[in-house]
Symmetry: D2
Subunit: 337 residues, 4 copies
């Protein structure tokens, strides 16, 4: 019996970045590996290999209806960058029973950790008071009266309650927080079962001492948080912007921070790299981070492990279990960023 | 029946800082309150009031054998600063069956929170990369290869496993850390029951990616961590100094940080305020904090609550339960700082 | 805009059994409800209503390709008995993009609770010693030397690690158990992430003090546990049979119990009702239960809640989230019991 | 330097029952062991050995003021049966700075496990329905409408919130119970910190579906639960009697069970062994257990481990940490049972 062929084209990532040796060996034990180079896969090569390919794993998989028509053996397209790309014809995939899978779940814990780091650093003034210390202007045994807070028994708000929220909730549990979550894609009971309290966006904004933006960008949530929303937040409360800047009016947020209305910890920016003279750079009461929520290199091999885990199951006729399957209903709702 | 008299002299703290209104009311429901002013209690006043006093609550209670001899009704001395002061004649208290109680447990959660904030901020490069961002020198989607790490599945070391460790362990649990703890005052099985692995100091130093100094200062642990100890730590590992600087050779630590051998998050200093030109101020890979681990003002009313809780029990003939009772064996072992 | 039509035919269950008033009201706020009676839905009625039906909810939904051909608006078939019935043409459903959903997740917690109850009752001799007490033959402060054990720090085995296992694991966590799990449908890393240790069937049998049978019946696991398997279990260890008797050779199990090789807690039987003279009825060291793992009537309204939750999402164009979606790969693997 | 002498007289327990080999070896590494036989220690022997003894460990230590006067080196009396005996002159011990320690904490987990086993078995009808099954009178897929309940999201009551409650609470946490606790020896905030809700006895009785009696017997709680109290409980609710029968009017409880007002799981009896014709023996809806909450033999070596742990600390001048220290305030409050 011939082994299924797996086409590996991880560019912009590299092979060693995402695959540990043992995972590549495991993959080779049940599949034949094609390409497997760090360079971009040329179109001609893709067109010639796809006919035999059972699973196509890529940094940015290109999959038009035309290409799919040439791929009778194809059962799975797996992206290893972190989100469903617009270069795939999803309808054609669903029609051809090709599963489209995303490695996004490999980042949940790491991103949740960064969100907690930012919540704690913001609430306890770690960055602001370090800057004061560097400037020999620190005050001893002092708290920032408007900005400091403890997470214990605190009111927390989530905007979005998907896989990052699922990873963040266990980290917050020992602090006995009350977490209100706004997520129009989840029934109230699902939020309750996760341990959140379902809430409207307005309630989340008004009631929370710290608000974490965790939602994926959709056609409906662009600029969800603007001047009015920041004005409705509690004075001195903390905004943690961790999923995408798509959800905020960045200028309005910058204003809200500079005026002292809120503090902010920001990992994502409207353009990256961000303008070296951009106005948030010197704003007080900010924590600035250059898209580093998923930056721990060592943990990126979790991607390869999940890819091989799911291919191993699929080779045995069992559905994938670790990666995120594209859902026909949701694909049209995602923002094409 | 007359109500017992409770002498409140919170200086250097203030009445409203530590007592919520409802706790003072609760206290007054079963006891008569004396002094209860923010100013220092003059010695003459103390000498005249102590004869009737059942419980003496103070920022820095002075209690010589002489004073105790004048206090036939005294059953409890309670300090509200955070550690057992050397101004008490403990032997005389034990002989007279006067309980000496410390409010230290009121700080456990807050200090544990700061320790976790520092562990996460250190491991995820939050402060260093913020400084780079301020200087428009940030690198995008980047990790600091030698210094960054995730707490998930990480090797952690504790030096000291008392009440702060007890509050910190539940915060670390969702990260699935392996925690090695060195604490000569606890049996191995007590450490295991807490969820730590008992270890020698040397093992803790060699095996851990992050080490948290949590021990109270004793006659035996002064300068426990010196040049040799820092050299035995893993390159790039993180030292979190949270309990007292008494445990480290501060100059050697500064050297170890400046050389790039370790990174450090430091909340306590050999002298406070720290020298405005002190050498750690501009060291790379540091997080500097001006003794702020217990600085959340709002949470300081936990002290008053615990004081009234225990007095309420004692008034009914039940032992105190919330504050820390001085133990005859340990008092002589504490460093007199 | 017309509201989607939902056909409710819960027989053999009843309307009030599965739907709380507030859930029916919630359903009616966005959908038009058809039938909604406790009696069986006659075929003619089904055939006449299905043409307008958007979602078909039934105790035992019948859905041939022929019926589906008459149902152009149908988007979901939801069963409310607890498992995917063989009366549905799944292939036709997948081809027509009709989601098939099962209410099985509504039972996870209740069944997990029963499994824990049986593990504890078995390990602590609750039933055996109660029987002795009834017979005035009890021994005081005594343990059953071969059969009694504590769950604390115990070696536990799972056969199957699906949704019941997922609900059972948090109940076992405070006991610090080491749980080995055998599940050929899950990658090792998925088991590890759940908190189990992946193991072969043989390892599970040999290493465990208590083994819980949690797997759904498949074409491959019929009679998985026979005489040889029971012989390889530790003497006096406990078998908890909770999912389906399909997985065991019931006669061999009865022998193993009667010989004293193992003890057993049994909730499912090869035929139900079980033979009034069946040999397991008087066997020692057994706990016998008449298929009661999901018997708590009050909790059955969780089914209706999940049904309405998912219909509410689907009406808004969001995928279902609470019920179990039939997977094309798995349907052919289930045993047709 | 001479090693301290430890007198081991475990009768009615035996040496091997409570001491694992490695713990005895550990003890011998820092102390000289005296007696160490299973037989009762004769008084003459005790009188002759006590003069040199540093720690006296016994099943039922006898320690009159007279004996203490002959024991200038004595620093600790440790009982290994499970409660503070009335054969010790506690006042003399406190005056002579002799610590009196109880091994009760060694039983917390085991007893909590039995309490949970009984709560689950009661709520899920495990014993009653097993009895029906034995009699071929079982009903299939049936619940006992008045008596069955799930622990999930349930209202639970504790009478007493000491060390057993502390071990039981983590076992209940995954069930999301609301636990009301009545304990006059603890401040409300201590109960809240444990995760209970402070309540009056009356509230506990009225609001709970299952009530667990966990309190130690005191001079004040004899017969705390009588006919009026059982009448105020919810119909069909469950009483778990696990600490001591001292707290209940046993005849009234028997009546309440026989009338169908409550169900009961009973591990402790007014006299043990209990009358072979006693009226509770054939009562319906009972779970009867012959004082077996701490009966797991294997776990009894936890006693010896705790004894050696604490002696090891004390030999190094550190206070004991694992065993329970007698508190001057509480000793006079315990019932002399």
């Amino acid at each position: 019996m011939t082994r299924p062929k797996v086409l590996l084209a991880p560019h912009m990532r590299s092979m060693v970045e995402i695959f540990a040796d043992q995972d590549i060996e495991r993959l080779q034990s049940f599949a034949e590996v094609l390409w497997a180079k760090d360079e971009p896969l040329p179109d001609t090569e893709l067109n010639s290999l796809i006919g035999d390919t059972w699973a196509y794993v890529a940094g940015h998989p290109a999959a038009s209806a035309e290409l799919l028509a040439k791929a009778p053996k194809l059962k799975a397209i797996i992206e290893v960058a972190g989100s469903f790309p617009s270069t795939i014809d999803y309808r054609a995939c669903f029609d051809n029973r090709v599963r489209v899978l995303s490695c996004a779940p490999a980042f949940g814990e790491q991103v949740a950790e960064m969100a907690l780091a930012m919540m704690l650093a913001g609430g306890r003034g770690l960055v602001a008071e370090h800057e004061a210390f560097r400037a020999s202007a620190e005050e001893w045994q002092h708290d920032r009266p408007d900005f400091d807070f403890s997470l214990y028994d605190q009111e927390i708000g989530f905007i979005g309650a998907g896989s990052i929220a699922r990873a963040l909730l266990p980290l917050l549990r020992p602090f006995r927080c009350r977490v209100r979550a706004y997520d129009p894609w989840l029934p109230e009971s699902a939020l309750r079962q996760m341990g959140c309290e379902p809430a409207s966006l307005d309630e989340v904004l008004r009631a929370s001492r710290a608000i974490v933006v965790l939602a994926v960008p959709t056609r409906e949530n662009e600029g969800l948080l603007g001047a009015n929303q920041f004005a409705s937040m509690q004075t001195g409360s903390l905004l943690v912007l961790i999923s995408r800047s798509h959800l905020v009016d960045f200028d309005a947020m910058t204003e809200a921070v500079k005026s002292g209305q809120i503090q902010a910890a920001i990992d994502v920016f409207p353009e990256e790299p961000y303008d070296p003279a951009g106005p948030i750079r010197q704003a007080p009461n900010t924590i600035l981070s250059a898209h580093r929520a998923a930056s721990i290199r060592k943990n990126r091999q979790a991607i390869g492990k999940m890819v091989v885990d799911d291919l191993e199951m699929m080779a045995r006729g069992i559905p994938p279990n670790r990666l995120l399957s594209a859902q026909p209903e949701l694909i049209p709702l995602y923002a094409s960023t």
